[in-house]
């Protein structure tokens, strides 16, 4: 029996060490970090339930074991086994043909995060390969943060400007907008552990604002304020109205550090009455005062509670106000993200200990290097959410309409898709029905190469489907995640032989490189394991205290570094000296009013109903209660992150399915008139599609709102009906106005008992 260090490498924000007990070539038990004294700040990075259930994933009877070639139609999931040579030959031939016929812009690696944090095993290998072959159409944004990254960029110059979560020990009040670390940062070494420690030490009052009484609310909130999805900017506006009219704003801060609060700091050339204060008080262009009464009807929060909350926020000094990534994943997400930041801005809580910028909590870690990918000769880059348009309608894909960067218009469609450890192809992208129609047409995208561990719904659409190694079968380095206040390095050892004919991504890419004549450039003469050792030595440049001897490092397996004494304060140097430490906004200050957005709103081609505004404003969009569609589909639907999976990763794990079954959250006030009781099978539907799932009737979700956890594996029965509760049968491919991001929480549906 031997014990080796390994890691769990999914997109959960964390990176947990695992200790695998291996007996006779099989992993028989999975444990986690047990090093040190578990002292706060250098505590055990304990894996959550998903990492602990890994044996059932790795040894799943559904593992892909051999290369496969599609024989039916795309999506039917009918394949025949081929050899590795044939698979790599076909891929290389087609790649050559596409590049020769259409150019490198016709090749793209689709967004995917099913394997993260592994240096040599990660998706970067494909980018490295493609960069040697002339490049590929790249993507920007993520499915996690498109709208907040863009929104906060225009306010602060970056969205990475927050305080550490542990800073709440210095706060008088904590307000979370849709932030749920108990289910999105579950690692015992990460944010949830930090929240426990900080709350334990300070007893600070925590308010959670969320349509759902999340597990974070259950564990930590002193108060839960339910809010209609997508209306955070309305709430903030109502709160701002109180703060302004009751003189609770920090006028000094607003004058010195910000642009656009009132007429005195507006940029030149902007017509009068376009300041934030005008917007809130009703002297702006829309003439509507954003009173608590106005906001109450929109948000569902009683006006008196709003007034109380505003006074709490206005008088608690300092206040840690933060948002998760739920409020921004809406059709008006950029507005919500910027609006939530207004609360710390109005009250001067930015850049101080115990305060926060309004964004998501900061991370800590060392800049261990990724594998070098070289540079991409192709400059064109698309928002990651619009990949289907790049396939089906490239002629209309422009910079002013679709956020295309590096070019004005796409010249060629995407003909060749790489998909590695990704379920974006089908499962995780909106409107699966629409995606199916596009992918089913083989004259559009001509080649789809999928590399994965199991037959996911995306894998069914592959032309060539390759079995990749899992984290048990491949050694690598894993760096600390970003949801942690510790530095860490895990030396993952290969615990077992690859199952079947599974290969590492590196070896797959070498196979293609060989056929395309770039083998030497790609490998630089190193094998997979030699690359791991090489990257280890690159890490030593960042942390010279790491052992010189690689073998010794392998034996030790796990290295951790504490972050030091003080929790980080985002934008602290700016706060201390705004004239010296300018923000990277055009004015160098916090841009409540963004001139850039003012100009964008006037130059971009926006569809009817899409709003870009210079100020953080509330705009109700399609898919919200005022949409005429709501007569047929009166319920708002969001898709929270569920502990059974990490997005869609691990979605077929029987242990996880047993302890955390997938279900639709519905309030008794909505369930009762529809005759739905807890455990009933229900059909959720709208004009886009439908799905069948079990109902969880609970008061923990707001009336008028449903939540169907995202990531369930799309599974069609013979009649074409998804029986597994996949939310993306119902979501829309219409992107958000500014970031062109995924509005996957903006949906209207109806539900009925089956």
């Amino acid at each position: 029996m031997k014990t080796v260090w390994s890691s769990c490498n999914v997109n959960c924000g964390s990176r947990c060490p695992l200790r695998l007990h291996v007996k006779e070539g099989k992993v028989v038990r999975v444990e986690t970090d047990n090093t040190g004294e578990d002292a706060p700040g250098m505590h055990e990075i304990r894996a959550c339930l998903r990492g602990r259930a890994l044996r059932k994933w790795i040894y799943s009877p559904e593992r892909l074991l051999y290369p496969l070639k599609r024989v039916g139609k795309r999506g039917e999931g009918r394949f025949e086994r081929i050899s590795w040579d044939e698979a790599l030959d076909r891929i290389s031939e087609k790649l050559r043909q596409v590049i020769d016929t259409y150019g490198n812009e016709a090749v793209s690696r689709i967004y995917g995060t099913g394997n993260l944090g592994g240096v040599v095993s990660g998706r970067e290998q494909i980018d490295r390969l493609m960069n040697l072959l002339g490049g590929q159409l790249s993507h920007y944004n993520s499915y996690s943060t498109a709208q907040i990254a863009h929104g906060m960029y225009y306010t602060y110059g970056t969205h990475d400007c927050s305080n550490h979560l542990t800073d709440i020990v210095n706060s008088r009040l904590v307000v979370f907008f849709g932030n749920d670390p108990a289910e999105t940062r579950m690692s015992g070494g990460g944010t949830i552990r930090d929240l426990v420690l900080a709350k334990g030490r300070s007893k600070v009052r925590i308010i959670v604002i969320d349509p759902r009484y999340s597990d974070t609310a259950a564990g930590f909130a002193d108060e839960w304020i339910p809010i209609r999805p997508g209306t955070d900017a309305a709430l903030v506006s109502g709160l701002a109205h109180v703060l302004i009219t009751e003189n609770l704003v920090d006028q000094g801060f607003l004058d010195r550090y910000c642009v656009g609060y009132d007429e005195t700091t507006m940029p030149e050339g902007i017509p009068p009455r376009n300041s934030y204060k005008d917007y809130i008080l009703g002297s702006g262009p829309d003439g509507v005062a954003k009173t608590p009464q106005w906001a109450a009807a929109i948000t569902g929060i009683p006006a008196d509670r709003m007034v109380q909350l505003a006074r709490e926020i206005g008088t608690a000094k300092p206040a840690y106000i933060a948002q998760g990534w739920g409020p921004q994943r809406h059709a008006n997400g950029e507005q919500s993200a910027r609006a939530i930041c207004m609360l710390p801005i109005l009250t001067g809580n930015v850049g101080i200990q115990g305060g926060n910028s309004g964004g998501r909590e900061a991370s800590y870690g060392f800049p261990f290097p990724p594998v070098p990918v070289g540079s991409n000769p192709v400059t064109a880059s698309i928002p990651c959410f619009l990949w289907t348009k790049a396939i089906a309608d490239h002629k209309n894909f422009t910079d002013l309409r679709d956020g295309l960067k590096g070019k004005k218009r796409l010249d060629v469609p995407v003909k060749f898709l790489w998909s590695f450890a990704s379920n974006t192809l089908v499962n995780q992208h909106s409107d699966i029905g629409q995606t199916h129609r596009i992918l089913a047409d083989e004259s559009l995208c001509e080649m789809i190469v999928v590399i994965d561990n199991v037959m996911t719904s995306s894998a069914r659409y592959a032309d060539i489907l390759l079995p990749g190694t899992s984290s048990f079968e491949e050694g690598d380095l894993s760096y600390q995640g970003y949801a942690v206040e510790m530095g860490a390095l895990i030396l993952r050892q290969q615990a077992i032989e690859p199952l079947g004919e599974c290969r590492t991504l590196y070896d797959i890419c070498v196979g293609v490189a060989q056929r395309m004549g770039v083998e030497q450039a790609f490998t630089e003469g190193r094998s997979h394991d030699q690359w791991v050792e090489y990257m280890y030595h690159q890490c030593r440049k960042v942390r010279p205290d790491l052992p010189e001897d690689f073998e010794e490092a392998l034996r030790m397996g796990l290295f951790k570094w504490s972050r030091g004494n003080r929790p980080k304060v985002g934008l602290q140097s700016f706060r201390e000296n705004p004239n010296k430490s300018l923000l990277s906004t055009p004015s160098g200050r916090i841009e409540i009013f963004s001139r850039q957005l003012w100009d964008l709103a006037r130059s971009w081609e926006l569809p009817e109903g899409d709003v870009i505004s210079a100020l953080p404003e509330y705009h109700e969009t399609w898919g919200m209660p005022a949409d005429p569609n709501s007569r047929k589909y009166p319920l708002q639907l969001i898709g929270h992150h569920h502990k059974q999976r990490t997005h869609s990763s691990y979605g077929n794990n029987p242990w996880l399915q047993e302890v955390a079954p997938h279900s639709l959250w519905i309030n008794p006030l909505d369930a009762a008139p529809r005759g739905i009781t807890h455990g009933d099978t229900v059909r959720v539907f709208n004009e886009i599609g439908q799905t069948v799932v079990k109902a969880k009737v609970t008061p923990r979700i707001m009336p008028g709102v449903l939540s169907l956890p995202q990531g369930a594996w799309y599974t069609r029965d013979e009649k074409g009906l998804d029986r597994n509760g996949c939310i993306n049968t119902l979501t829309s491919q219409r992107p958000s106005p500014l970031a062109k991001g995924n509005p996957q929480h903006t949906n209207l549906v109806e539900v009925e008992k089956v």
């Binding site: 038990r29 999975v30 444990e31 986690t32 047990n34 578990d38 304990r46 894996a47 959550c48 339930l49 602990r52 259930a53 044996r55 108990a182 289910e183 579950m186 690692s187 015992g188 949830i192 552990r193 426990v196 709350k199 334990g200 009484y213 597990d215 974070t216 609310a217 259950a218 564990g219 930590f220 002193d222 839960w224 339910p226 009464q293 109450a296 009807a297 948000t299 569902g300 929060i301 009683p302 006006a303 502990k643 029987p654 242990w655 996880l656 047993e658 302890v659 955390a660 079954p661 309030n667 008794p668 006030l669 807890h678 455990g679 969880k696 609970t698 008061p699 923990r700 707001m702 009336p703």
Partner: protein
Amino acid sequence: MGAIPKRLAFYLDTQICTGCKTCMVACKDKNDLGPGVRWRRVVEYSGGEWRSEPDGTFRQDVFAYYMSVSCNHCDEPICVEVCPTKAMNQDEDGIVTVDQTRCMGCRYCEWACPYGAPQYRGDRGVMSKCDFCRDELQAGGIPACVAACPTRALSFGEFDELKRDPSLGSQEATAPLPDHGLTEPRALFKPHRRSRPTGSTTGRIANSEETSDV
């Protein structure tokens, strides 16, 4: 082999239990438990009413909390009392275990235990249950669930020592646990700030499909 202190007890800080179920899975992994066998169960107890106002707003008093429960190795274990074959026994160290060579799978203990600790193994036709990870304890380690808990809500120790924790708060049973007097459970649960007294009907167990097959 180390000596195990007598009267070990689990201690759950309900305040910081987030219902993540990592303890359930760690136990399943260590003991290779099959489908439907749950030596540790995390229960969600929730409730509250909603009132919609004419202006489109809502008022509510929703609450929810989680409790992680395995076997409480009670001081008056009803399972031991009622087992017809004496397969269920409480050993000298206070740990209650089931002797699978004696058990005939009548499931009477399962009927009796108010915590759901005895779990039926369909593949063998006998009962099984939490044994406090006795093998780990003897080797100087700690129970798998305790080692796994990401928020450190779960810990364990000598019962009388744990009871002296000044931050423990009331030791009265909270819903959905039954009255302590039934079996004198040797386990401590620091009450959640929204916890209800045992027998309360203001909430209900909201996830019975996760904790049992009935």
